[in-house]
């Protein structure tokens, strides 16, 4: 098993919390993992990404080659498209459909959606609404995306849920349950293989 995943978003959106849960689950499963993060200047509202590689065999490069990613998980639709050249021809995009507009020249949404639709394997979700409907705060939106991506993560649903429980355990039962609910909401509306 080997999965190469690009996590994308805008600095401050919290893409790394998705990586934390996947990392926790992967470590428990005894899998190899490498995760290259972006720290520093671009965290101030710029585009950010993280390369997450999970494998049952040792991993060499910390970075994913172009055309090597199985999956792009993005908290922002334009940011998902920024990395399409890294996606395998049959790779998946799982993204929030809510644009984060902090630049004057943000592209036309209709055009953007067309480009997204041109990627055959894609799931675009209103993650904040799904989180709210699941009874979770809007900060759990990234957990909705995580849930939607589960079938492509190489770690099965129950083990991922257990990972969520462990990561949020110190924040109390209520927060654990709302994040689990957010993951389940994403799973229901997410990738169907």
């Amino acid at each position: 098993m080997k999965k190469d995943i690009i996590l994308a978003g805008v600095g401050g959106q919290g893409i790394l919390s998705i990586a934390t849960v996947v990392g926790e689950a992967a470590l428990t499963e005894g899998l190899y993992l490498k995760q290259a993060e972006v720290h520093g200047i671009s965290q101030r509202g710029g585009d950010v990404q993280s390369n997450l590689r999970i494998s049952s065999e040792p991993i060499c490069s910390d970075l994913i080659p172009k055309g090597g990613a199985d999956l792009i998980i993005s908290l922002e639709p334009m940011e998902a498209l920024r990395y399409v050249s890294y996606l395998k021809p049959d790779g998946w995009i799982v993204t929030s459909n809510a644009p984060f507009v902090n630049i004057p020249n943000y592209p036309d949404m209709e055009e953007l959606n067309k480009h997204l639709a041109a990627v055959k394997n894609h799931v675009a979700l209103d993650v904040e609404t799904l989180a709210k409907e699941a009874g979770a705060p809007s900060q759990a939106a990234n957990m909705v995306l995580l849930g939607a991506a589960i079938p492509m993560l190489g770690i099965d649903h129950d083990k991922m849920i257990a990972g969520v429980r462990r990561v949020f355990a110190r924040k109390g039962e209520a927060i654990v349950e709302s994040n689990v609910a957010a993951v389940e909401a994403g799973y229901k509306n997410g990738i169907k293989l």
Binding site: A19, D62, I64, L81, P107, L112
Partner: protein, 535 residues
């Protein structure tokens, strides 16, 4: 036990487990997390375990000197910085190679090729060669963890500091690291056997330097025998590849057994000459050097192999001359076709970083830009920090930004040349790092400058670490001789705009050295503080 650690965290944990007594550092991407991790662990230190000194230093030079002091006393010290921090501490670093170390002394330089968060991509391996000391360059997080322990032991064995060089992708990439299960044991205090070794009067220094020169062959032997340097003869040894540090990963990502090239992995310097000789003896006709950063090894290797052996790499165009390596450029260098993929999407536009909404630097720049409209040809010299983003739209307020502290002294030099208004903009942490001495120069020559200290009470860009002068900036400025009536303090908020503008106007019109402190807490640390207070 297995942990998921950043390269920086692996170094930190390795140092703790090796019996570290003190870490000395100034924050700088991509090195910051080393010290932060030690601070986090120190906050949870089990009772009975010896404390580790881990407070931030004012700059890299004070950090290096304090570490030399700890090493002098026989204890293990770690110094951490980003690559350009090495320039700041260079006087102490070079002296440290002549004094040598008593307690283990490991210097971590975190280089930033591709300049993700930096002003250049200088390669710190040059500095190890310059100082003639051994350098370690781990290729993965586990090796980084293991190497720190070895570096401390080696430093104490050979009595010299060791440079540990990492790059962004090692520092900021997480992997599973297996740590030792031991209770760290720190060294007890023990003076150097020969105190003269630490007195660099020319008469003593000459002897020390001769020892360092004489030790060079033994450092090469250490490299030849190092378990981190590894030569494997290929089935097609006419072609060989030297891959250093993290570059080895990009090679192995793309290497296919049928290629049959000989491979030399280098993670300890000086270069392992015996392994290179063996590679040549095995019939190498062409050697490709794959290294992260500048072509350090590629240049050195030309003096180590016969002229009949072709050397290729970044200098010959086999690999990009600048920027960090990627699995893609190494793949191309190996002659492999690119993987099938899509074209980059044409709709996607750049999303440059920006100052946070509600940030005090914003209000400071708004006021400054408004006031400067009243003057002909104003010049504003910026500095290193979040406020450097004031050079970008919407403010475009800066006319120069070089390195830590240059705002103050460049404004002075420009004023000396006849420029008016000549403004320096510097953050509080950068001011105490490298701006204070420049301000003293301004005061001494009564230079006609306005120095704006945009004080957000923290080291913001690197994530909100303590700032060395918090609460004492006025005292520092008046202590340096700034006239109290020309030391002004404003609160950068939209409602104070008219007042700030008036203060700036008055100080620009004053023919002498003025300091305007624009003080408001960083919006990010404020959020954190409010959240903590709620709990």
């Amino acid at each position: 036990m297995k942990h998921l650690l950043l390269g920086d965290e692996a170094i930190a944990q390795g140092a703790i487990d090796a019996g570290l007594s003190g870490v000395y550092a100034y924050p700088g991407t991509p090195s910051t997390e080393i010290t932060e991790y030690i601070q986090m662990r120190e906050a949870k230190r089990p009772e009975g375990q010896a404390p580790i000194f881990c407070k931030w230093a004012a700059n890299e030079k004070t950090a290096m000197e304090a570490a030399l002091g700890m090493s002098y006393m026989g204890k293990r010290a770690l110094v951490c910085m980003k690559h350009v921090g090495m320039n700041v501490c260079m006087d102490a670093f070079m002296a440290g190679s002549i004094t040598g170390a008593n307690g283990g002394l490991v210097v971590v330089a975190a280089d930033d090729p591709s300049m993700h968060s930096s002003q250049n991509e200088q390669d710190s391996r040059f500095y190890a060669k310059f100082a003639m000391i051994p350098c370690f360059e781990p290729s993965n997080q586990q090796e980084a963890y293991d190497m720190v322990q070895e570096a401390f032991e080696l430093s104490e064995k050979i009595h010299y500091p060791i440079l540990l060089r990492v790059t962004t992708r090692m520092a900021h990439s997480r992997a599973v690291v297996e740590t030792r299960e031991n209770t760290p044991k720190q060294n007890t205090m023990k003076m150097p056997d020969n105190v003269k070794h630490f007195i660099l009067l020319p008469a003593f220094a000459k002897g020390n330097y001769a020892e360092l020169v004489a030790a060079q062959d033994s450092f090469v032997t250490l490299s030849n025998e190092s378990s981190h340097n590894c030569y494997v003869k290929g089935s097609n040894p006419k072609k060989a590849i030297i891959a250093t540090g993290i570059a080895y990963n990009y090679l192995m990502e793309n290497y296919r057994p049928e290629m049959g090239y000989s491979i030399l992995k280098v993670s300890q310097y000086p270069l392992p000459v015996a392994l290179i000789d063996q590679m040549v003896k095995d019939g190498t006709e062409e050697v490709m050097v794959i290294e992260e950063g500048q072509p350090v090894v590629e240049e050195l290797i030309r003096g180590l192999v016969p002229s009949t052996v072709k050397v290729i790499g970044r200098l010959t165009g086999a690999l990009p001359r600048m920027g960090e390596l990627s699995p893609d450029c190494v793949r191309a260098a190996l002659g492999l076709e690119a993987l099938p993929t899509r074209e980059a999407d044409t709709l996607v536009v750049n999303r440059p970083p920006a100052l946070c909404q509600g940030c005090g630097h914003r209000d400071m720049y708004s006021a400054l830009n408004e006031v400067l409209k009243e003057y002909k040809n104003p010049r504003v010299f910026g500095d290193i920090g979040c406020y450097t983003l004031g050079a970008l739209p919407p403010y475009q307020a800066l006319h120069a930004t070089l390195e830590m502290g240059a705002s103050v002294t460049m404004a002075k030099g420009a004023a000396d040349a006849g420029q008016h208004p000549s403004i320096g903009v510097i953050g509080d942490s950068t001011f105490t790092h490298s701006g204070m001495t420049g301000l003293l120069d301004c005061v001494n020559s009564k230079s006609n400058v306005v120095i704006i200290i945009s004080d957000n009470l923290t080291t913001g860009m690197t994530g909100g670490q303590d700032s060395a002068g918090t609460g004492r900036l006025e005292a520092i400025c008046t202590g340096l001789g700034v006239e109290p009536e020309h030391l002004r303090v404003v609160v950068p908020l939209p409602k104070n705009m008219e007042e700030i503008k008036q203060v700036l106007r008055e100080e620009i019109d004053y023919n002498g050295t003025s300091v305007v402190i624009a003080r408001r807490e960083c919006i990010q640390t404020l959020k954190r503080h409010l959240k903590a207070a709620k709990k």
